[in-house]
């Protein structure tokens, strides 16, 4: 299976869930699919469980701040079909919320916590969505473009 075939299969199955086929011939790098936030879980679940797709691995889950809005990007892998598909969910900056896929992939657990920690994306249904990398009482989401570096943290100066 090639990536284009996988994209076609997803588009055929979820015509309403896919906002657009990324890249659109203009950008370099990998193509991707932009998925509606509320349908993401269904798409991923189908991709994992459908015998023709069999995307058994969540390779990478990254939160991205594009400056205007946030995104949660999923790289799903099918080792049987030897194909990787990239799904992107675009989320409004004010209320970035998307369903968690921890029930499908164990790997999503820490990845989603990391995206929450660094970008403040809320994954509903995550069993324990707390900060993972930064200290627990850290203020702000460091990877957002408008993040202000802290002047000091617990009495330790940060801007020398």
């Amino acid at each position: 299976m090639t990536r284009a075939e996988a994209h076609a299969a997803i588009l055929a199955k979820f015509p309403d869930a896919i906002v657009r086929d990324g890249r659109e011939g203009k950008e370099a790098g990998d193509p991707y699919l932009v998925v509606k936030a509320e349908r993401l879980h269904d798409v991923v679940k189908w991709m994992k469980e459908d015998p023709g797709m069999r995307f058994e691995v969540l390779q990478c889950l990254s939160g991205v701040d594009y400056g205007k809005d946030l995104a949660s990007v999923y790289h799903l892998d099918s080792w049987t079909n030897k194909v990787t598909v990239c799904l992107r969910v675009e989320l409004p900056r004010e209320k970035p919320e998307v369903a968690s896929i921890t029930d499908l992939y164990g790997a999503a657990d820490w990845h989603e916590r990391e995206a929450y920690d660094l970008l403040g994306i809320t994954y509903t249904g995550h069993p324990k969505l707390v900060r993972i990398l930064c200290a627990e009482d850290w203020v702000g989401y460091p990877l957002r473009k408008d993040y202000v570096f802290p002047k000091e943290y617990h009495g330790i100066k940060n801007d020398l």
Partner: protein, 388 residues
């Protein structure tokens, strides 16, 4: 009490009439001789038996991703060194290949071959440290020092080509920082000749030691399905019997032109996917790495090591790319989002140890405290990469 040290409630509520003794919450780390860095795991123990465990990471969160989008593309390479500081060459390689893919750069062949050599040598160095520290976790200190003795020889080779013992910053976008000196390839050949018999010595010293097998076999069994679901890669996954290696499945550089095996766990002394299998995959991979180096050495063409298109300031075209290579610890992926400027919008590092470590809780149920140390050791993570 600080909220930080208050462990999350792990215990099952005790049923009435339960006569079990009191359970204890035990903090292993963040400063502990065998946590391989600053890793903390809160274990709930019933005597020596571990009932549950909760890994806590982030004690070495060095803000790689923020820095990566704050400096331009070329300046990110030194920071990738410090992700997995035991395999800096491979990290450089992963990042550079990703950006090169985004830019469509063609790399001179000499650079490609040299990249393969340094990556494989670094794999050996990294596995040597894993071997040594695993011996130390099991209580045998001598293998650790023997491994370090031989690792020094590799560090010397790296020092010759780039002047550093760790954090090489040798692989750059577009090629290599510098060409290898004239007789360096002979030195590499000499090292491989010297090193291959040493692996037998390690096997005699540790791998097939009776006590060591008793300690490592049947412990921390990781079934293949769990490993796949939790995104484990590298020796952790291969120890469970899954033959997955990016070098074979999606060959990069010229790995499709060399012959090598992908060792997998076979459950020789215990169950498939136990600590011994994971450990042994690493020892066998050292042999395979030597084999690859030998083959690559046969054909290293003369020529430049830097692509002429690689400029001082790189501006990759708008777009995003995800690319991965086989690090000593598993699949190292970089997800780079570019908007056509000299700084990336986002560089996400999908580090293998991050995913491998998250499976710890799954496989540490019901083991003993001493086994917990063995399981932590067998995952062989580097906190620099987990916390980034």
């Amino acid at each position: 009490m600080s909220p930080e040290l208050q462990s999350p409630p792990l215990a099952q509520p005790r049923a009435p009439g339960d006569v079990r003794t009191e359970e204890m919450l035990l903090n292993i780390g963040p400063q502990h001789p065998s946590t391989h860095g600053v890793f903390r795991v809160v274990v709930q123990t019933d005597g020596e038996i571990v009932l549950d465990s909760e890994p806590h990471i982030g004690y070495l969160h060095r803000c790689f991703e923020k820095i990566a989008e704050s400096v331009d593309y070329l300046k990110v390479t030194p920071y990738t060194d410090r992700l997995d500081y035991l395999a800096s060459m491979c990290n450089n390689l992963g990042y550079c290949l990703t950006v090169e893919k985004l830019m469509g750069l063609q790399i001179p062949r000499r650079a490609t071959r040299l990249r393969m050599i340094v990556a494989e040598l670094n794999r050996v160095a990294s596995h040597l440290l894993a071997f040594g520290t695993y011996g130390m976790d099991s209580g045998a200190i001598t293998p650790f020092l023997h491994a370090f003795r031989d690792r020094e020889a590799i560090l010397k080779l790296f020092e010759i080509i780039c002047g550093q013992r760790l954090n090489y910053n040798y692989v750059r976008i577009g090629g290599l920082a510098e060409d290898a000196p004239p007789r360096w390839l002979d030195q590499v050949a000499a090292f491989v000749d010297f090193f291959e018999p040493k692996i037998d010595e390690y096997d005699a010293l540790l791998s097939y030691n009776g006590i060591f097998i008793k300690r490592a076999a049947n412990i921390g069994v990781l079934p293949a399905a769990t490993a796949i679901s939790w995104g484990c890669t590298g020796p952790v996954l291969r120890g469970s019997g899954v033959r997955r290696d990016i070098r074979k499945d999606e060959p990069y550089l010229e790995y499709d032109k060399v012959e090598f095996d992908v060792p997998i766990g076979r459950g020789e002394v215990g169950t498939l996917g136990d600590c011994w299998d994971r450990y042994m995959v690493r020892v066998r991979e050292m042999r395979e790495a030597c084999k690859i180096v030998r083959q690559v050495l046969k054909d290293v063409p003369e020529g430049p090591v830097m692509a002429p298109e690689a400029k001082k300031v790189l501006r990759p075209p708008k777009g995003e790319v995800y690319y991965r290579i086989e690090n000593p610890r598993g699949e190292l992926g970089f997800y780079v989002v570019s908007d056509g400027k000299d700084k990336a919008v986002r560089i996400k590092c999908r580090s293998p140890a991050f995913c491998n470590l998250s499976v710890l809780r799954e496989i540490a149920h019901g083991c003993m405290l001493a086994d917990m140390i063995m399981i932590i050791g067998s995952i062989d993570f580097v906190m620099g990469e987990v916390d980034r």
